[in-house]
């Protein structure tokens, strides 16, 4: 006897065994038949063919009638999947499994129509234990309660006749939180179609529906139904919100819908079609249901008139079954004939406004309120799903591999195509050692820059001994002569050759023509230039030459006022009569040119004019009478501490001077730059008086002892101190150099 070894457990099995009797592994491999049918389907088909003789008559008749009435499908694959499944599973009506029928339903066996009794009787013992209520019973009941069918209905169904498949979802909703109940029930209500107005509903709705609404508030019945149906069936409506009005989305629903559409008058059959109730073979349907009752029904089926139910989800879907929302659109309701009463109902529903509009119009829906404690527990905002699950219709369909054609498969492309950081290191930067060293240096510099800069430690402060010594030496040197009269310095005996022209000019200034003195020096040079200019002014006033002062510096007029008043007072001269101050001339070199061209137009008023002056302008005084141009002055003397103003006067005023001499009274530091104007072949400067020694010499020549002589001792003492300081520096430098050389030699 040939044996077949199990590839899994290696135990011998019979030759014709398809499965291992020890481990259950399949011994005969499954091979796809040439028609593309799955192996299981081929086996089932083979079994069906083998058992063709065992096919019940009702099924054979249905099949034959279906083959005769329905045109052959052009392409079986063109129909929707759910319809194909329904077609393939045609006749395999599922019913509630044995023992799963609620007790309340079993106890309260409602009086039903004869057709249902016959159906149950013909279905055998299994079908009697698990009657199939969702199909014909609902339609029958619905049809019986419609006004048109009330006459033909044998008896009015009671509330107990309501299919138990309608009840569990209602009970399940009661167990849910209010917010979740709102979410589950609200869409159902919306999708259930707009509820008719109260008046219309009262007229159109059947009685059982009124009772249903009334009983909808019956919490006790629902609780009983909920307890009897089981948790699996309770949870289904919460997960699915569209079983009430939508077409069947699961196999159970599809089968139920198919049964309702093909075998019984139902709403899904379409309002226009009218099913021939009288000619329908209910017996064959009962036999079919009894024979093809599934062993493990996944649901209790959906009532055919579930669209009429306002908010009760009628279907119970197993977990894992996915609804196919595209199927309802493909369900051809027009192909089914419906009775007139059902067509009217459908028309009325079509005329009803959409639920949103009605809700807005009526406004009788109370807004849902969520308890605060439940609101706090609601994980809507805090929970963020890591992976967003797309709707099924948006999920991609696998095109290759063993999962080809399936929807919702985890695709490998996003994982592969997802940009990730490269694990492989890129091309390393090729740098030289020098570049590396420079980079290190740069990083070190940056790091040091980021460090906190501590204040530099203060070194030991040394007393600026030399600075103080120099300062004190100079201070005492200039203070000692005026304070103590010591030391005294002899006046110079040699007269500079520059004094000759100056003395000649001053001595030749006409008395009737005023002499113009320009005070263009800074206040800091007062100590020096007052002595130098004082000597010149002293000689002029001694000769009673009228003196007129002006300045191109803002500080010039006060300086002129102080010096002239001081010397004029010593000579008993009066302001406005013997001397006059024109004041400040603004404008720099341009103003000097303008003043040289038109003195009266350049300076209009004057400075520190006497109160008894007859007019408002200094030009109206007798001292300036006859002066209209620069050459009308007897002499022009520029007292300057810098070179710029002296050069300006020498360059700008010379063209208008004519025969009027131009004398420069300068500080010692300005002498080198002005001397070229004096020592040229055609000198622009006629006389020059520079520095205190020249002023002292000038005073000596004039036989006067003025301010220059009074500063001579201090000047000599200070200069001597400076000479000593410089000499001391030279000695110190030489000594330190010698000592260093000696140390280096040693």
């Amino acid at each position: 006897m040939a044996e077949k070894l199990c590839p899994m457990c290696s135990k011998p099995n019979a030759e014709d065994a398809e499965e291992c009797e020890f481990c259950g592994a399949r011994l005969t491999p499954l091979v796809l038949d040439p028609e593309g049918q799955p192996p299981g389907e081929a086996d089932r088909r083979g079994e069906a063919e083998e058992g063709a003789g065992e096919t019940p008559d009702w099924l054979a008749r249905i099949r034959r009638r279906a083959e005769d009435e329905s045109p052959p499908p052009e392409d079986p694959g063109q129909g929707p999947d759910w319809l194909n499944r329904l077609r393939s599973a045609e006749g395999e009506e599922e019913g509630p499994p044995t023992g799963e029928v609620p007790d309340w339903l079993a106890e309260e066996e409602p009086p039903q129509g004869d057709w249902l009794d016959r159906l149950r009787e013909s279905a055998g013992p299994e079908s009697s234990e698990a009657p199939k209520e969702e199909g014909p019973s609902e339609e029958e009941r619905y049809a019986a309660e419609t006004p048109e069918a009330e006459a033909t209905a044998p008896e009015e169904p009671t509330s107990a006749e309501r299919p138990f498949a309608e009840e569990p979802p209602v009970s399940a909703e009661e167990d849910l939180p209010s917010w979740l109940m709102d979410e589950t029930t609200a869409p159902s209500e919306e999708e259930a179609g707009p509820p008719a107005p109260e008046a219309d509903r009262a007229v159109d709705r059947p009685g059982w529906f009124e009772e249903f609404e009334g009983a909808g508030a019956g919490e006790e019945e629902r609780a009983e139904t909920e307890a009897e149906v089981g948790p699996q069936e309770i949870e289904a409506p919460t997960e699915r919100e569209e079983p009430v009005t939508g077409p069947p989305t699961t196999e159970g629903e599809a089968e139920a819908a198919t049964g309702a559409a093909e075998e019984a008058p139902g709403e899904e059959a379409g309002p226009e079609g009218a099913l021939d109730w009288e000619s329908f073979d209910w017996d064959s349907l009962a036999e079919e249901a009894a024979a093809d009752e599934p062993e493990e029904p996944e649901s209790l089926g959906a009532p055919p008139d579930e669209e009429e139910l306002p908010h009760v989800p009628a279907l119970i879907v197993d977990e894992g079954e996915q609804p196919s929302p595209a199927e309802p659109d493909e369900f051809d309701l027009d192909a089914i004939e419906l009775p007139d009463w059902l067509s009217d109902v459908g028309k009325e529903r079509a005329e009803e406004p959409p639920p949103e509009e009605e809700a807005a119009e009526t406004g009788d829906l109370a807004p849902a309120t969520i308890p605060s404690w439940l609101e706090a527990m609601r994980p809507v905002e805090t929970f963020q799903p890591v992976v967003e699950i797309e709707p099924e219709d948006e999920q991609a369909v696998e095109s290759v591999g063993p999962l080809a054609g399936l929807r919702g498969v985890l695709l490998a492309e996003p994982v592969v195509a997802k940009p990730r950081s490269s694990t492989a290191t890129g091309a390393q930067l090729q740098i030289t050692e020098r570049q590396y060293a420079q980079a290190e240096l740069l990083s070190r510099i940056v790091a040091e820059e980021e460090k906190e800069a501590h204040p530099a430690r203060r070194g030991r402060r040394r007393l600026p001994f030399i600075r103080w010594l120099v300062s004190l030496a100079l201070l005492f040197s200039v203070l000692l002569p005026p304070l103590l009269g010591l030391p005294t310095f002899a006046t110079p005996e040699r007269v500079s050759r520059d004094l000759g022209p100056l003395i000649e000019i001053v001595n030749n200034v006409p008395v009737e023509r005023p002499a113009l003195l320009v005070f263009d020096y800074e206040p800091g040079y007062t100590a020096e230039l007052e002595g130098v200019a004082g000597a010149l002014l002293e000689s002029l006033m001694a000769r009673e030459v009228r003196v007129v002062t002006m300045s191109t510096h803002p500080t010039g007029p006060p300086l002129a006022l102080e010096l002239v008043d001081q010397i004029g007072t010593s000579h008993s001269l009066d302001n406005g009569r013997n001397y006059l101050h024109l004041g400040y001339l603004s404008g720099g070199p341009t103003a000097v040119q303008l003043f040289a061209a038109t003195p009266r137009g350049a300076i209009l008023k004057g400075f520190m004019l006497p109160p008894e002056m007859p007019g408002d302008s200094a030009w109206e005084l007798p001292i300036l009478r006859g002066v209209s141009v620069l050459s009308d002055f007897g002499m022009v003397a520029v007292i300057s501490s810098g070179t710029d103003s002296a050069r300006t006067w020498a360059e700008q005023a010379t063209p208008w001077l004519g025969d009027t001499p131009l004398v420069m009274v300068l500080s010692t530091g300005a002498e080198p730059l002005i001397r070229p104007y004096f020592e040229s072949l055609d000198p622009q400067v006629d006389g020059i008086l520079t520095g205190l020694p020249a002023a002292v010499a000038y005073e000596q020549v004039n036989g006067r002892s003025g301010a220059a002589r009074g500063r001579w001792d201090a000047f000599g003492s200070g200069a001597l101190a400076a000479e000593i300081i410089l000499a001391a520096g030279m000695v110190y430098g030489a000594a330190s150099w010698f000592l260093r050389r000696r140390e280096e030699a040693e």
Binding site: I466, V470, S471, L474, P487, F489, T491, P492, R494, S496, P523, G524, Y525, T526, A527, T555, P557, P558, L559, L561, E562, G583, Y584, S586, G587, G588, T590, A591, Q593, L594, A597, T598, G601, F607, L609, P655, E671, P672, R675, P676, E679, G691, P693, W712, G716, G718, A719, L720, A721, A722, E723, I725, L726, A728, G729, M730, Y732, G733, S736, W737
Partner: protein, 211 residues
């Protein structure tokens, strides 16, 4: 070179310069009158620029005080005395006794003290120069300074001695030959630079007034 608004400014500047320059060479009354007119305008502009400078100085120190920058107390003192002097001068005139008093007893001593400090600083710099930097140039600088001081200032003894006279002559030779030669070179350079600048402005090649 693109033509722009600067052409107008260049034409004005060139014409003004030419008129003023020609006034020096051509003795025409109209030309002299025009030159003096332009010079008078320039003086007015210079006075206005002085005012602008004063207000700019005031604004700078005012900002310094407002932002509390370093040295703001000195700026506040400057603003205070600036305003006081300005108000007094505008109200009573520049020859008002209080203004003269402020000048005589504030500004004059301060500026004189600054020059006195300059004398001390120069003396100390000379000492440090020769004591720390012992090279030929430092030695030449210090020797020259000593010669000028000895030849200028009186000697406490033997003021009219041969040595004193010799040093006096040496000092005159240094200041009137060497220094004057250098100063003349400077003046010549300044003159050439002024001529070049004047020509550039006249030819509108240099436009200090902007484009």
């Amino acid at each position: 070179m693109k033509l722009g608004p600067y052409v107008i400014w260049a034409a004005v500047a060139t014409a003004t310069g030419l008129f003023v320059l020609l006034g020096y060479f051509i003795e025409l009354d109209e030309l002299v009158f025009l030159r003096l007119l332009l010079v008078r305008w320039a003086v007015l502009l210079a006075a206005a620029s002085l005012l602008l400078g004063l207000f700019n100085l005031l604004a700078v120190h005012w900002n310094k005080v407002s932002l509390q920058e370093s040295g703001w107390p000195y700026s506040s003192l400057l603003i205070l005395f600036f305003l006081v002097t300005l108000v007094l001068g505008l109200l009573f005139g520049a020859d008002y006794p209080v203004v003269l008093l402020l000048f005589r007893h504030v500004q004059l001593p301060i500026e004189a003290s600054l020059l006195g400090l300059l004398a001390v600083s120069l003396s100390l710099a000379g000492f440090r120069l020769i004591s720390r930097q012992r090279d030929v140039f430092s030695l030449a600088f210090i020797v020259t300074a000593l010669l000028v001081l000895l030849g200028t200032a009186p000697w406490p003894v033997a003021n009219n001695s041969v040595a004193s006279l010799a040093i006096g002559d040496l000092r005159a030779w240094v200041t009137q030959v060497w220094a004057a030669a250098g100063a003349r070179g400077i003046l010549l350079g300044v003159a050439l630079g002024a001529i070049t600048t004047g020509l550039r402005v006249l030819l509108a090649s240099d436009r200090p007034y902007g484009d």
